[in-house]
């Protein structure tokens, strides 16, 4: 049977859907990236800001 060829969008979509399953990846970060992608806000500035916010939260945790 012929193998399905994925479009660029499908490749990216599948990747983000499975991002949490990548071994040794921090799930909180994976979720942030997936969320930004879903909301069409996947830019380096948005990612940096979200990661900074996460760092601040985690540093303030006891």
């Amino acid at each position: 049977m012929e193998k399905e060829i994925k479009s660029g969008e499908e490749i990216v979509e599948t990747f983000f859907e499975e991002i949490e399953n990548i071994p040794e990846v921090d799930t909180k970060i994976a979720k942030i990236l997936y969320q930004l992608y879903k909301e069409n806000k996947f830019t380096d500035t948005n990612i940096s800001n979200s990661l900074l916010k996460l760092r601040e939260e985690e540093n303030n945790e006891n």
Binding site: K3, I5, F15, D26, I29, Y37, T43, D44, N59
Partner: protein
Amino acid sequence: MKIEKLTLSGLRGIKNTINLDLDNKSLLLFGENGSGKSSITDALEWLYRDRIDHLSIEEIDRQGGISALRNIFLSDEEKSFIELKFTDSQLLCRKELSKNNDNEDLKNYLDVSKKENLFLRSKDLARFVFTTKKEKLDELSKIIGFSKVTDVRKILKQCVNKLNKEMKNKNFEEQISNNNSLIIEHISRTVTSDQHLFDAIHNLVLPLGIDKTPNSFAEIETMIDMIKQPGDSRIVELLLFYNDLNSFILNLTSKLDEIEEIYTNFYSLWNEIIDNREIVNELLMEKLLSEGVKVLEKNVLEDEKCPLCLQEKNKIELLEEIGRRITDLKRAKERKTLLDENIESLINLLSGNIAKIENILSNKFMPEEENQELKVKLEKLGSTLNKYTDELKKDLLQRDLIGSPEGMVCDRELLNQIMDFAKQKKDGLEKLKKDDKKFDIHNKIVVSKRAYLDIKSLEKEKAVFTTQAETLQLIYEEFVKRQKEELESFCNNFSENIDDFYKFMNPDEGVDDIKLIPLIKNDELTGLSIQFEFFSNSISPPQKYLSESHLNCLGLAFFLSSVKAFNKENKFFVLDDVVSSYDANHRNRFMSLLLEKFSDYQIIVFTHEKNWFTHFSNTVKGIDWHVKTIKWSEAEGSYIEESLQTLKEKIELKIRQNEEDGLGNQIRKYMEFILKKIACDLEVKVRFLYNENNEHRMANELLCALKSTLKKSNTELAANNVFNRLASSSYIGNTDSHDHRYRLSMGDIRAFWQDVLELESIVFCENCQKFVSMKYYDTVNKTVRCACTNNGKSYKWKK
């Protein structure tokens, strides 16, 4: 989606409405050059792409050739439109010139279809083969949307780099090491846990007769309260302040070298750009265009207009055009990116240090008289660093001049003076409390406790940073891996089909293993090349050895592979005159390829190659294809030649409904069919005419020739008055009938039709549904007849 019915009107060469009832089936359409085949493709291209590529030239218009789309013979009231009905969808796909489409479902369908390969014209056959490696990649990237993958990869890479840079600037290792040194200096041991620190404090306070180990940081505070003397806390804090100041200036000294080096680099890049007006102009354009993309992507304007000039323009087209122009400005953009990287590094390095200076200046000890000298020096240091940030804020595109690196250098002597000041103060305080045991223990506890807590906090912060950096790196690596795998899988799969289709059309010709090879540089896909084995030698590019015909085959194989790969919404495709450059063998193999490998598709084939058409139509007779002919006349424009039966039904319906419009023409057309059939079957001799002129004979010529044949072969038939009546009324429907001043009555038309039917009844047998023909000539009885052996039509016939 397969097409049930295609209707076109007033587009390109098509003046009157053309209906193609396809009902899911494939279509083989024959038409001479100029008959209107490509008008159908143009209309479909306009429907799906909103532009017609081959008409998109400056001499026509800047709107994708749309101004050349309307048929020039139309009156103002007549509409130009294309309409598609699909068998498996309720969607009516209609597009009219000068009318905006507001149907959301249709818009969505057309958006999806834009990415599919639905048409191939002869002139585009080998286009892909001849493009450069980069263009091949761009073409495929556009089809499969690979730019989306590249964008995500770039963003991930940027984030990984940014995070690593931030981590480097934080200098966790050095800060932790400094704090460890402080602990060792004060309590002569390292501290790796809370308990270690508690034990160390227990040892410190033992000489004071306190035999107690603190169990918490709060208990440490209680112990400090127990041993502290009036005024000691202030001195301890001052010592910490001068100590911090010293560490900061030490750290800044090492950073200044880096800041100055990056600034020197930045300065030379800045000047390189502003000295070149062309690059500045390109950057200005790039900025404008990039802003334009944002405006378009955010749908700031609801109408399909250019946001700058407000001219009507298709949004997707415009985005594509801007994208191309931005790509052309890549050289300037790359320099700007390099400059921006320097700016970002400088800001990272400067911002923390400037904030630290401000923090020191706001310390509660700064307003004190003894620190005024320090204050002046720190303010001077702050303004030196701020000078850098001021330069970074200047406008590159205004070609602002920036300060030279020499003029920006920070005076190291100033740093030494600050450190000397801090050391002097620290030494003075220590000297003051030299023999004060309680103070010494108090100070050691405070410093080691703070250093330990700082280390804990730094290690935590470092761990959070490291997790983020490692996770992003892992995600990036996985993404690159997936990108490569998918691309490889895509190329392999695609190559298999190209190889299969090409070899199907060219068996045993020495070409084997055709492959698309991805070219990757620094994790980045830079191009695609086509490679194949030619008599066991690896060849690239194909034009090196293949003939034009073979290159066209390769192009065709590429198109058909992309149909298989990417057409998911539409299960049909159009091939417009694609076999012109092939010899008979290749044409027939191509036909077999379509029939064998694409039997589940609705294929629409246009051709002007008569022999191939004949062969093709004979082959598809039994497999449910539509076979039609398209013609063009000045009066009607392009029209589909209808089957006799369909035409007859239409004429009779119009007569029943007293509808005169075009009726005379249709009857004339019907009569010409009959006369041609008779002339062919009864071997009526007419004068020799070249090629298509033979088809364009007028009814009168055929009537005369038929009468003359009948006079020789069957005088009784020749005497039938119907021939004379037809000769006199055939002008009714001649090609110029639209311009006739004489207004025909419905009665004239009805009489004309009756004569035509009478002619038909002479030669057409209702039983066998065949015409009387010389094929059935009886040499014994000297008669011609229809296919019936008994009771059919039969006439005496003298050869």
